[in-house]
Amino acid sequence: MLEVFIFATLNGLVTGLLLFMLASGLTLIFSMMGVLNFAHASFYMLGAYVAYSISLYFGFWTGLIVAPLIVGLLGALIERYGLRRVHQSGHVAELVFTFGLAFLIEEAVQFFWGRDTKNYQTPDLLDFPLFTLFGQEFSAYRGFMMTISIGIFIALYYVLTKSRVGIIIQAAITHPQTVANLGHNVPLIFMGVFGVGTALAGLAGVIAGPVLTTFPGMATVLGSIVFVIVVIGGLGSLAGAFIASLMIGLLQSYAIASDVGMPDLLNLLGISFARDHPLNDLWTINLPQIAPVLPFLLLVLVLIFRPTGLLGKREE
């Protein structure tokens, strides 16, 4: 029982931290520009594919560094020549633009890389168990994923709260004109933030690709979850996104690892149903089966009891 709990916790942390890497970029972009970027997970997918292609020629480590830079640069260019122009037409136009962008990236990925799953492998250097506990191995690569994610969180926290750039970004979120009057190029800052946000999504794709498989549907798999995280954490709150990412990662991991189901609950209540009952499927459902639904359930609960999210602030 203890080993199940420990490994579920570790896997939950890995998933949660990976989700945070994706959600942090989305949060950053939303808090600065008020743009809900529906194409954010597509940049994550793009990161995985670009890194896969680079790894074929130059190895995993080159892909790890170059792919996020390429994705970030692409994101910055999209902001400069696409989103910035659309921004003048309001939020609905922005949403439609990012929606279209998501489809465009997905189609482009299928066009250039095909519809099949890519054999994107973890690097040989990390292909060993980091430790063995209760006879189960925890791979070094998962440890690497956790390290990168925690490193990103610390770096983002430092940059946003302690550095001059972070101070300018924080101020530009609420008072863009005042910041411009002080001599700072706010559109350039927005472009940089969008670029960094998409680069973070790309980085998440690079390190998740070998573990969660690199295929054209990978953006769809995580895309909706990331939005759930951003809403649960509170729109625009980085700390909220961090907490919500870990909550969802752990929640899903515990649900998958558990063997609790409706039959246990019904037995506890002294209720039993025959196997040929028309609703047998419902009575025999178990927690691992509903694990993918749990984040959305949590979202509904948060929206009912705390509509601003965990750390979100109500707009004045």
């Binding site: 300018i168 924080q170 101020a171 411009a180 009057n181 190029n185 706010v186």
Partner: protein, 231 residues
């Protein structure tokens, strides 16, 4: 330093500035006076690039009409807005850092100097901007603009809501800033501070300059004060 010629500006279809002309010399303190709604704030916002201008705005001999706000600030024109726009979640020190145009403080001012001029701010260096009093916020806003080492600053209604004692301190500070070679355009509704520190002053009415003179000449011009200034 600053020369504004035939400046027009619109909010939608409303013609707010209807041909404004004035100038500010090097190291001068010049006041722009007038009642609410005559276009004083719009004038400085238009100079700063917040409102689209029509006409000519020359700063240090360079045409700045149509330039972006951050470009104008980089040329050495600072702006202290009426609503102060202190960043409430940033500390006093962070607010000052925000005013710097590069990582290292350059030119006439640095944070330590600001703190020595304003011991109140020094004591509250790590306090959030939102927790300061109105007077302290006004001082912080001015110091923040000075951190960018401007050659000229435009200050919009700095005395709004301040106690007379604080207004007195503010007047001393503006004089000190001008003594260091920084030109000042003071946009005010109250005559007292303007008459005390200005070298020249302009009165605005209906989107135009309706009077130009010195504090002494304005004191004698009862008709101008009666028609355009007194409530």
């Amino acid at each position: 330093m600053l020369k504004v010629s035939d400046l027009h500006a619109y909010y939608g279809k409303s013609h707010i500035l209807q041909g404004v002309n004035f100038h500010v010399g090097e190291g001068e303190i010049v006041s722009l006076l007038g009642r609410n709604g005559v276009g004083r704030s719009t004038t400085v916002k238009t100079i700063m690039g917040e409102v689209a201008p029509q006409g000519s705005i020359e700063f240090k001999g360079q045409e700045i009409a149509g330039k972006k706000s951050f470009e104008i600030a980089h040329l050495g024109l600072g702006y202290v807005p009426e609503n102060r726009d202190i960043f409430p979640s940033l500390t006093v020190r962070q607010n000052l850092v925000l005013g710097m145009k590069s990582n290292k403080p350059q030119g006439r001012w640095n944070i330590e100097e600001m703190f020595s001029m304003f011991p109140n701010l020094a004591e509250r260096g790590d306090v959030h901007g939102g927790a300061l009093s109105g007077g302290e916020q006004q001082m912080l806003c001015m110091c923040r603009t000075l951190m960018g080492d401007p050659d000229m600053i435009m200050i919009d209604e700095p005395t709004e809501g301040l106690a007379p004692k604080i207004v007195e301190q503010l007047a001393q500070l503006l004089q000190e800033i001008a003594n260091r070679g920084v030109s000042i355009l003071l946009v005010e509704q109250k005559l007292s501070i303007a008459l005390k520190i200005s070298k020249r002053l302009y009165v605005m009415g209906h989107g135009k300059i309706v009077y130009e003179g010195t504090p002494e000449s304005l004191l004698k011009a009862d008709d101008v004060r009666g028609e355009w200034l007194e409530v």
